[in-house]
């Protein structure tokens, strides 16, 4: 079933891609092929392979239970928050929280969680910023 949905999704994706490709405004100084041809070829392959996947599906993959799915979704939210907060809170603080969250969700105890968060954040800051001179996001506190 997953593969059938995936295949249909591929066909829809290809259709959307074709519509977007046809909407490309051509420049008056175009070459013989133009900017649309190659995307259209790709869309054809995409649709064709999508159809094959939908018609001849593989055995069902092992999907996680809802709780585990929520776990991944929560991690995605945390990482998005991390990306957004990075320029606001500064590298060290944001990274400490994000790393600690991941460690906690992977099963670390409270002490280890704090240690991984602080250790990762400070370790990266020292190695990459202080030693190697990479510029990292600066927060209000300057780090």
């Amino acid at each position: 079933m997953s593969d059938r949905i995936f295949g249909v999704f591929g066909i829809i994706l290809a259709a959307g891609y074709v519509i977007a490709a046809l909407a490309i405004e051509e420049s008056f100084l175009s070459d013989a092929v133009g900017p649309k041809a190659f995307p259209l070829i790709i869309a054809a392959i995409l649709a064709l392979s999508g159809a094959v996947i939908a018609l001849r599906p593989d055995p069902e993959p092992h999907w996680p239970a809802l709780a585990r799915l929520a776990e991944v979704a929560a991690a995605v939210v945390v990482l998005i928050l991390y990306a957004e907060m990075l320029p606001v809170a500064g590298f060290v603080i944001a990274t400490a929280f994000a790393a600690a969250y991941l460690a906690w969700r992977l099963g670390s105890g409270p002490l280890e969680t704090v240690a991984v968060g602080a250790g990762t954040s400070i370790g990266i800051y020292v190695t990459f910023h202080l030693i190697l001179g990479l510029s990292l996001a600066k927060g209000p506190l300057g780090f």
Binding site: S2, A99, L106
Partner: protein
Amino acid sequence: MELLANLGDGFAIALSWQNIGLALLGCFLGTIMGALPGLGPSNGVAILIPLAFTLGLGATPSLILLTSVYYGAMYGGRISSILLNIPGDEPAMMTCLDGHPMAKKGLAGEALSLSGIASFVGAFLATWGLILLAPQLVKIALLFGPAEYFALFALAFMTLGGVSSTNQAKSAFAAALGLGLATIGVDTQTGVPRFTFGEVHLYDGLDFLVAIVGLFALSEVFIFLETRHGGSDAAGRKLTIGKLYPPVSMIRQTTPTMLRTSFLGFIAGVLPGAGASLGSFISYSMEKKLVDKEGTFGTGDPRGVAAPEAGNNAAAGGALVPMLALGVPGSGTTAVLLAVLLALNITPGPLLFSQNPDVVWGLIAALFIANFMLLAMNIPMVGLFTRVLMIPSRILMPIVAMVSFVGIYGISGSTFDLLVMIGFGVMGWVLRKLDVPLVPIILGTLLGNAMENNLRRAVTIDNGNWWTLIDSPLAIALWAIAIIGFVLPLIVGARVKAKMHQRRDEEGAISD
């Protein structure tokens, strides 16, 4: 002897303190990444590329660092295969078959050192193969026009699916997806924006480094979160190594095996679409057919340890040949290495050898040096790396995730790129669940623009005549190989692939 003169120049470049240090660092990190299940050569290299890039390393030093990681990972993969019966990365899968039984018999130290020697022999011979074969391939590539290049790219995509996936439709889908992603941004020929939906960030196109790190590294973190695999595979097991040096008789017994499988592995590596995994697989299978008269393979036969290790390391070297000489990588990790070259604005292919000989020969010399370093690290110091296996992934994975973010943020300093990377991470996770190979996607985003430009150049030169694509014997030959490469696995490949991907889990999607 032009070749030796070139090699001499290469050593002059590679033997600077910085380059030796980078090779050492790369070998060390690579062995660790190879040894740890969950981190393989392709995601290991993927995480380090943006860092090498943002740290402002030049082309030669970056390549030295990253190919050392690549070679190192090929060495390191065997450690957990032998000690834990869990392959550290995909190419090391065949090493489990005889390596772990040897360890059970109390011969772990012998198995580790023997496989270290086999790795060295394979990689050493393959580096010579690279020196001898790449310049010949360059001579052929100089005959290529745009139509031939277009056919060559098509060949790369069509054969890549042959072994990297169990389902050809899915690898075709992945390739089309990657090529489609590459078309996002301003069209290089006419200057019109395509698929940008008015988003200014997309005018430059998607940064392929962002895609690579998201697909390879971040999706791995999600896999671990999903399975809540937070412990270490080595937890609760005693990792005894014992005697570290194999008896001379064992080395003598396995020498012919090593030499044969090095050759075979190298060929497998050079062929498009094959990689180190296939190299170790066919090496093991052939040796089993050839020398296993008493049926000892699978029960801890030293030859069964030497064969896949020599094979996969030789294939790793062989896979560099098409990447450097043609600009078309044949395996997952070399696709990622191609990203390094492209990120540094160096076009691999025949011109690389004439315009940047310092890069090519410096790299080759560094490979020789790295090989000796790896031999030293992997035999006397192997105990150090077995301790790495004890690190639980609940500590390792947050570090992997955060280093990925640092690398990508370092390139552009924009939150937008980080969000795109998370998007690719989620996409990678879903696609791995569905057993869609990720390597064609990467290859598509890397080669998409070059492929389209060659197509348009070829057709434009011939005044809009599309038949020009199959107008020369060379182009026809390339198309024929491409079609055979795509169709053949449909007929005979199913059996081989089923065997190779017995562990039909998410790892299969990033096979090398």
